[in-house]
Symmetry: C2
Subunit: 324 residues, 2 copies
């Protein structure tokens, strides 16, 4: 099997070919900009890893893999407009660097590009590949719609939140693994198992993100701590706290939400103290571990050489495992 660095290098080289660029260049420039920010390339790597479990000729899976990366970036492009985000990975978002129209239209062009790349596969896998990808793409839209609707609601349940992040985030991670397995001709059982595995992994990954925003080590995490708290973002931490808090604590939390100015440090510390008191950190870690355990259990079912599975898991841990 290839190492993660080798695969990452292949993804990088394939993206750098920019074979999708046509006329006018201005339509494609924001896509190049977006893809050039050095993301982790998690999704194409997962697709290639899944492919590599069954076949050695991973170069055959490179185009679909970067198609998935382009699809992911298209969703980010449109999400950034909808959230009116200013920065992404430390750089101006497309609609801030250019304008909203550029972000909408280049996003649309990126979506078509994604479809073009994803269909690079043997004919026998085409229908299933496109069907699967359509399902993933629609689920991502559904997740984003729920996410936007949750913003104005104060009564989002844990279950609703888990469904939302599943649709918005986990489904694409699951779909990346499934697509890699599909076009490698993996057995039916593995095709299903890798999708399920990716779904659980995605949930663990997103919940870990929520957890690390509060309890992460800024040096390792690479983001400012407390960003979600400052913006009142409805994370697992906040939803769980609102569920478990007594009336007085709820009032306290609502008081902090209402504060738009003032010292962010003070707000972060106060909300974190509420989380501490309610043991939200422990609950989150339990939930993350429960999802990871589920994911490992599903992985046990797939039918590849044990040593392959071992390498695969090691790489997954490296990709996903951001220390607190």
């Amino acid at each position: 099997m290839y190492t993660i660095d080798e695969l990452r290098e292949m993804v990088k080289a394939e993206l750098e070919k920019q074979e999708y660029v046509g006329d006018p260049y201005s339509l494609y420039e924001p896509i190049i900009y977006m893809l050039g920010d050095g993301g982790k390339r998690l999704r194409p790597l997962l697709a290639l890893l899944a492919y590599n479990l069954y076949r050695d000729d991973v170069e055959k899976a490179l185009k679909p893999a970067i198609g998935i990366e382009i699809f992911h970036n298209y969703t980010l492009l449109h999400d950034d407009v909808m959230d009116d985000a200013t920065l992404r990975r430390g750089r101006l978002t497309v609609h801030k660097k250019w304008n909203s129209n550029v972000a909408i239209l280049s996003g649309d062009a990126a979506a078509v590009t994604a479809y073009k790349y994803i269909e690079y596969c043997d004919d026998e896998y085409l229908r299933r590949g496109i069907d699967g990808f359509n399902q993933v793409a629609m689920d991502v839209c559904r997740g984003q719609q729920y996410d936007m609707e949750f913003e104005t609601r104060d009564d989002v349940t844990e279950e609703e939140y888990l469904t939302m992040i599943y649709l918005k985030t986990s489904v694409l991670i699951a779909g990346s693994l499934r697509h890699g397995a599909l076009i490698a001709g993996a057995p039916e059982k593995d095709y299903t198992a890798l999708y399920e595995f990716g779904g659980y992994l995605g949930q663990a990954f997103q919940l870990q993100d929520d957890y690390l925003d509060v309890y992460g080590d800024v040096g390792v995490f690479g983001k400012n701590i407390g960003g979600d708290i400052v913006t009142n973002k409805k994370t697992y931490m906040l939803i769980k706290a609102l569920e478990l808090a007594d009336e007085a604590t709820k009032e306290e939390l609502r008081g902090w939400f209402a504060r738009r100015d003032g010292n962010p440090r003070e707000k972060i510390e106060a909300v974190t103290r509420v989380y501490d008191r309610l043991h939200i950190d422990e609950l989150a870690l339990q939930k993350i571990n429960a999802y990871l355990e589920k994911s490992y259990a599903v992985l046990d079912e797939i039918q590849v050489k044990p040593e392959f599975k071992e390498i695969f898991m090691e790489v997954i841990r490296e990709l996903i495992g951001r220390k607190k």
Copy 2:
């Protein structure tokens, strides 16, 4: 062959099934709203007509046909946001009735829905169908990008304009005919000829739209006359006038462009007088007829029963031929 009314009824019934609707309903409601405005259904009808040239079981082509209609409406949804249009076919646009985020995201969901429907075809046609559709979808993005860039330019040439409307409008009309022919198993030559035919037809159609905005009969045309003049829209009429005008006339036109307030009637009359003086009406009619003749010439090449071709042409004339 089916009559146009029968086909229109089938398209309507298929759209009314709303089989694409999922959770949350709020994501799909704007799509239903958009599709419920009683457009002409030109594109699905063209797809069904092309299919019907070769096969009788047009119900097999209904899903791809409405997929094309859904795709068309997705592009309108996003275009309306980009143009900040208030009305479409006499009703509030989606981003005015709801907001921009709703229009962006429901548009994205409509695009995925379109892909899902368009791929309803026998496996042997799938790759080519999806490839063709990707090409059309990308061309529409390219056309919209050119259109937006032309807004801030004063030196758009006739050739550039014709390329832009070809990409933005004609390619989808061409693609509708081609897709219908493809999934009916039409011979290679016809598949190509119908695309070419649709391209010329689309050009004639769009140029006629430009012409009728100035010289149309308001009762028949169904739009207010002079709308393009009031908004300084870069139509064939205006581009041709700027090309042919002497310096004094150009100054006169620019003077009218600069007028944002005042009596629109006065502006429309003055600009129309300039067009009259430069015989833009005749030039436009010549251009429209040239495209129509080209389209008929291509149609002569397709290999179907002559009586089928005759019915087909009659329907096309009925669909396209809006009297002045």
